[in-house]
């Protein structure tokens, strides 16, 4: 009772503020900026293609796996519905209607068709590369003229940094963790050195190195886009942490599992691939996703080296003459966005654990 009363005491003014006093015009006007920064208008359709593809794959997952994917699809659909209802441009709202239709249609199409499973998995695998190609474009691709990554901004940049950084860091981390257990002294000491070096350096330092020092070391002809440099920095940094997470899982594996595999004549590589890694990684899903979420929030540091991530975009909108002093609105909005994504990632971690928990001892 007391707790409920306290919650009410706190929530009432907050909600009153949200619905009656706050002036959300700053968000509505700058919504494009928040979502994609300086990403050129004429290329926005490519981001939509990415979102449509996500809706397609997610809807199909819902159809073939049912319960395991349902909540994600529902959350995605709810977000899309919210965007339809909020006062954005007509174009955007129509597109969200389209996304919703795609989601539901894909679900209906794929329902009870287990034969589609490999295709859905393939869809998830190519989702990220496809989105990157669509977003970045390339000179040799028709219709997809290159958009320099330094023009990416806002939520687009934040998500790209998080997802690309983490996706590249995990395999690298696994290799480092395996290397750390190697019996070859050269590999072992290299991996230990790498991990301890990167873990001993603050992320800000890594970002400054990537932004300021790296160009000095590279020959003048080689120009690497600042966003790409930051992604490389984040990946190398994150890999050290993921390596330690994976090592925890490897150390938790009972010796009997190695012995049983060796006794069957499996060599070291097959033993790792089929017996040890699948179990060890499953054990450390919480830790892996924990690092994932950490990196998501740490991407706000890229603002320090001048990349317009979601947080820095927020700051710049506050400098607009029309919206001076709208701190509360902007930061409340950013809070909700970061919170929603973090919650989603942590929920994904729980689902993953449950779904992959088959045959636990």
């Amino acid at each position: 009772m007391l707790a409920a009363w306290l919650v009410y005491l706190i929530l009432r003014p907050a909600l009153t503020w949200v619905f009656t006093q706050a002036e959300w015009q700053v968000i509505v006007t700058n919504f494009r900026l928040f979502m994609r920064g300086q990403y050129p208008d004429e290329a926005v359709w490519r981001l939509w293609v990415g979102i449509y593809f996500l809706a397609l794959v997610m809807g199909m997952s819902w159809g073939v796996w049912g319960q395991a994917a349902r909540t994600f699809a529902a959350l995605f659909g709810a977000a899309a519905l919210l965007f339809v209802l909020l006062p954005f441009s007509l174009n955007a709202r129509l597109n969200w209607v389209g996304v919703l239709i795609t989601l539901v249609a894909a679900m209906l199409l794929a329902r009870n068709r287990a034969a589609l499973k490999p295709w859905v998995i393939l869809g998830w695998v190519i989702l990220l590369p496809l989105t990157i190609v669509l977003t970045a474009g390339a000179a040799w691709l028709p219709f997809l003229s290159p958009v320099a990554p330094r023009l990416w901004g806002g939520l687009l940049l934040t998500l790209m940094l998080t997802i690309i950084g983490n996706t590249l860091a995990l395999p690298l981390g696994i290799l480092l963790a395996l290397g750390r257990r190697s019996s070859l002294p050269a590999i072992k000491s290299f991996c230990i050195g790498y991990i301890e070096l990167w873990r001993g350096v603050p992320l800000v330092t890594v970002l400054f190195m990537a932004q300021i020092m790296l160009p000095l070391f590279l020959p003048a002809e080689i120009r690497v886009d600042p966003v790409v440099r930051v992604i490389i920095g984040l990946t190398l940094f994150e890999a050290a942490y993921q390596a330690e997470n994976v090592r925890g899982g490897l150390q938790a594996m009972p010796r009997g599992q190695f012995e049983a595999a060796y006794a069957l004549g499996l060599n070291g590589v097959l033993t790792m691939l089929f017996i040890i890694l699948p179990q060890a990684l499953r054990l450390v899903i919480p830790a892996l996703l924990n690092s994932f979420i950490s990196l998501f929030k740490d991407t706000t540091l890229v603002a320090i080296v001048g990349l317009f991530d979601l947080l820095l975009i927020g700051k710049t909108t506050l400098a607009q003459p029309d919206f001076l002093g709208k701190y509360r609105e902007v930061y409340a909005f950013l809070f909700v966005v970061y919170w929603a994504f973090s919650m989603m990632f942590s929920y994904a971690s729980q689902r993953l654990e449950k779904t992959l928990g088959v045959g636990t001892r």
């Binding site: 009997g256 012995e259 049983a260 006794a263 069957l264 499996l266």
Partner: protein, 254 residues
């Protein structure tokens, strides 16, 4: 692998093993013939498990020779893998792979080491599961099975590689009493089929029934060996007599 057609399949000459300063095996000499069933028993810490694990090099010996089916165990990795794929081992703790189904547990090595097509591996696995009396468990995970069933899966998994020798390292010690019989029955059937078996066990009923030879280990040495009749009715050594009197209390007889 030019296996000599000789009768002897395992030959150990003066095998020594140290764990740090602890001298675990003190010069073991032993030969095992094809088709022979050898039961090793002795007090805990006597080196019997270490010895059986040295036969497929899960433990390294530091002195002496172990020759299995014509191949000497040395640091050469190819030799080790060749020997290991000819020897099946069943562990006290089963050591099934908990993330794979029973079927996958059994077919993994035949598919990836023996390079069998999946269909052949699965057909063989089903045959083995039927021999073990648990064909209906093929698509379950090990965690869903009882201890006795798990151990029978472990035996099937080892047999799937069509080994020439089967090692058993206290296969019933981790089982509840009512499950010991089903595992021992499977092992007896295997022994009668002519498989060469080296079994570390205190199941004296099993030994009496199927062992060709019994070996008593103590403090890292072979103290006594002989046929079950000799060992049970006329043990020569005091230590053997003492140990047998301790474990052959009526409760342990079966």
């Amino acid at each position: 692998m030019s296996a000599p057609a000789s009768d002897i399949i395992i030959e150990c000459r003066d095998v020594h093993k140290w764990f740090g300063h602890f001298h675990a095996l003190k010069g073991i000499n032993l030969t095992v013939k094809r088709g022979e069933v050898v039961v090793i028993f002795g007090p805990s810490g006597s080196g019997k498990s270490t010895f059986i694990r040295a036969l497929n090099r899960l433990e390294e010996h530091q002195r002496g020779q172990i020759i299995v089916d014509g191949i000497e165990l040395s640091n050469d990795v190819r030799h080790i893998e060749a020997v290991r794929s000819e020897i099946g081992i069943v562990f006290q703790q089963f050591n099934l792979f908990p993330h794979l189904t029973v079927m996958q547990n059994i077919t993994l090595a035949p598919i990836w080491v023996r390079r069998w097509p999946k269909s052949k591996a699965e057909a063989t696995a089903m045959e083995l599961l039927e021999r073990m009396g648990i064909p209906e468990q093929a698509h379950k995970f090990p965690g869903q099975l009882s201890g006795g069933q798990q151990q029978r899966v472990a035996i099937a998994r080892a047999l799937a590689m069509q080994p020439k020798i089967m090692l058993f390292d206290e296969p019933t010690s981790a089982l509840d009493p009512e499950m010991i019989k089903e595992v021992l029955d499977a092992m007896k059937a295997l022994a009668r089929s002519g498989m060469t078996m080296v079994v570390v066990s205190h199941e004296m009923g099993f030994a009496r029934e199927v062992a060709d030879r019994m070996i008593f280990f103590d403090v890292g040495m072979i103290v006594e060996e002989g046929s079950p009749e000799q060992i049970f009715s006329a043990p020569q050594q005091e230590r053997t007599k003492l140990f047998l009197s301790q474990i052959l209390s009526p409760r342990r007889m079966n």
